[in-house]
Symmetry: C2
Subunit: 337 residues, 2 copies
């Protein structure tokens, strides 16, 4: 059955099953927020054939990843989610089944974090587009910001990087990678298809903030790549950093089939890992890494470089090569390539 | 200059001029909300060639109307705006000038209501899409809902209906309408290109709610047409209504060139007038209409019809014809036509 056969109202009725019933039926959704918390808002747009392919990505995975990306942006601000809105552009020929599965994928992710879909819009469009806005709340003193890194802060990552990029490679070239168990393959593929926003970290972080009497928290998520996150934080905070390449944990599933150089490249530039990068005083950082385990690590230190203020150096103690200046030349801009 | 020549980052830098500087640079925007108020969220998606035409509508007007539609949804809930986010899908060939003018139109509208653009996303897309999510806040007891109409309530509209549709007709067929002054033409065209969300009504309404000790407010906006708004409110509230056709004020600019039947059709089915439809006890309704003036009127009464519970009858006291049952047959669904 195609969307144009049941019309906007017919599709809305089907999709309302995915929303809390008390929230539907007015021009807007009404939500209760906690007093003395700030509202955090973030938005993302996904376009068919640009950000996903209707052909190669299942609608459930598109939905999961879209929801996860927005929840990760909330986690990156230290905020707990209140809800999301979904704006869909759909060709009339889109199958109703595809749209339902998209919503199933979204709600599978959202339910793990008690986050409702509280509104949306469905319109006719020549291509599929999915615009999600997520909102959450955070106590002002616990807001995580990019511009708060201090000299000597330890740079923490909350888990492995590169696993999502590894999973994508396995999906693109399944026959090329032979020396990897099926279990390990599935773990990497799941890291790509079902990434988890690290909202679970926040309560642990809040405890450490209190016990170490921290007055600010610096960080962001690493959805655009670990290198990008380090550079963004340093640029916003007007500081430099020294990253220890050998301290970046490489996922066990990457070692059998990637050279150390390739694995490091995946970790730095792969993106879509949805971990957090945090800059904290060393004792707090150590405690956080110990409590998180599983790929969490201190990977470097905030410095004041003598040259450019926000220069980031990548040091590899396993080699005799000089420190590299980290940059985004391996990254991309959406319009120019 | 085209978007692809400066890339996403270049475009972001230009567009950040339209946002408050303290809100930019993190994964999400942080907003302060008032204690004891609820958060109201609403979202709209516009697609080039479906909801506007890049060729026939100026980018400033697209921006103004997109912002106005979302602020009108907030007004329809009784909420004052906190901010909006804008998700843009853009072909690389889009001119940077077009995007800047879109933002100029949005901010021209938003500034009249002290509403900042607090975030967004820009992505590559084969067609132009604009997804806006608006946030506002409302005291819970002042929330306007569709399902609160009571028997004997007076049905109030806050201004003229049909003017936007009239303006569209003048733009489509400028040479056909000769017996209308240039001033009158401009007023109708402006009603179409620069509709005003009725946030100005809220403080007046709140005063009346207090002085009449009202415990709930029923209503919505009439952006999808006056007939649609009446039917939606009656359906949500499970009541009927009797509308007096002769009580629906017709804009002075419509009389010289439209028959009374055409003008009534424009008023009921034209849409995009962004007025509010409110159901209030008669004394409160009369006071509101008197305070608003300028096209505001009581156009009917909430009834309990003997047949279908939510039947809406249109009575024309100037004719001998029997009452019509109001329906949306002149409306449309986005996917089926």
């Amino acid at each position: 059955m195609q969307v144009k056969e049941i019309g906007e109202q017919g599709l809305l009725k089907i999709l309302q099953r995915f929303c809390p019933p008390d929230i539907i039926g007015d021009d807007g959704a009404v939500l209760t927020t906690a007093a003395e918390k700030s509202l955090v808002v973030t938005t993302d747009v996904l376009i068919d054939k640009v950000h996903f392919s209707e052909i190669t990505t299942s609608p459930e995975d598109v939905g999961w990843r879209a929801a996860a990306a927005n929840l990760s942006d909330l986690a990156a601000m230290g905020a707990t989610p209140l809800g999301i809105t979904v704006g869909l552009g759909l060709p009339g020929e889109t199958s109703v089944d595809w749209v339902e599965k998209l919503y199933q994928g979204m709600t599978q992710c959202l339910q793990q974090y008690n986050t409702p879909i509280v509104g949306g819009d469905i319109v006719r469009s020549p291509i599929i587009s999915v615009a999600i806005t997520a909102f959450g709340q955070v106590a002002p003193r616990l807001t995580i910001r990019r511009n708060q890194a201090d000299l000597e802060d330890a740079i923490v990552i909350t888990g492995y990087h590169g696993a999502s990029r590894g999973g994508l490679e396995l999906l693109l070239n399944p026959d090329l990678i032979t020396n990897l168990s099926e279990d390990q393959k599935l773990i990497l593929i799941k890291a790509h298809q079902r990434p988890k926003p690290r909202l679970d970290i926040l309560p642990i972080l809040w405890e450490i903030v209190d016990s170490h009497s921290l007055t600010n928290i610096c960080g962001m998520d690493s959805s655009d790549g670990l290198a990008d996150a380090i550079l963004q934080v340093c640029h916003s905070s007007q500081v430099g950093a020294k990253i220890q390449a050998t301290q970046i944990p490489l996922h066990p599933g990457m070692k059998p089939w990637l050279t150390p150089e390739q694995a490091l490249e995946y970790a730095l530039y792969g993106g879509e890992d949805f971990e957090l990068l945090l800059c904290l005083p060393k004792p707090a950082a150590s405690e956080l890494v110990q409590k998180l385990g599983n790929g969490a690590a201190i990977i470097g230190t905030i410095t004041n470089t003598s040259g450019d203020r926000d220069q980031v150096l990548l040091h590899d103690s396993s080699k005799e090569t000089p420190d590299q200046v980290l940059n985004l030349s391996r990254g991309f801009q959406h319009f120019t390539n």
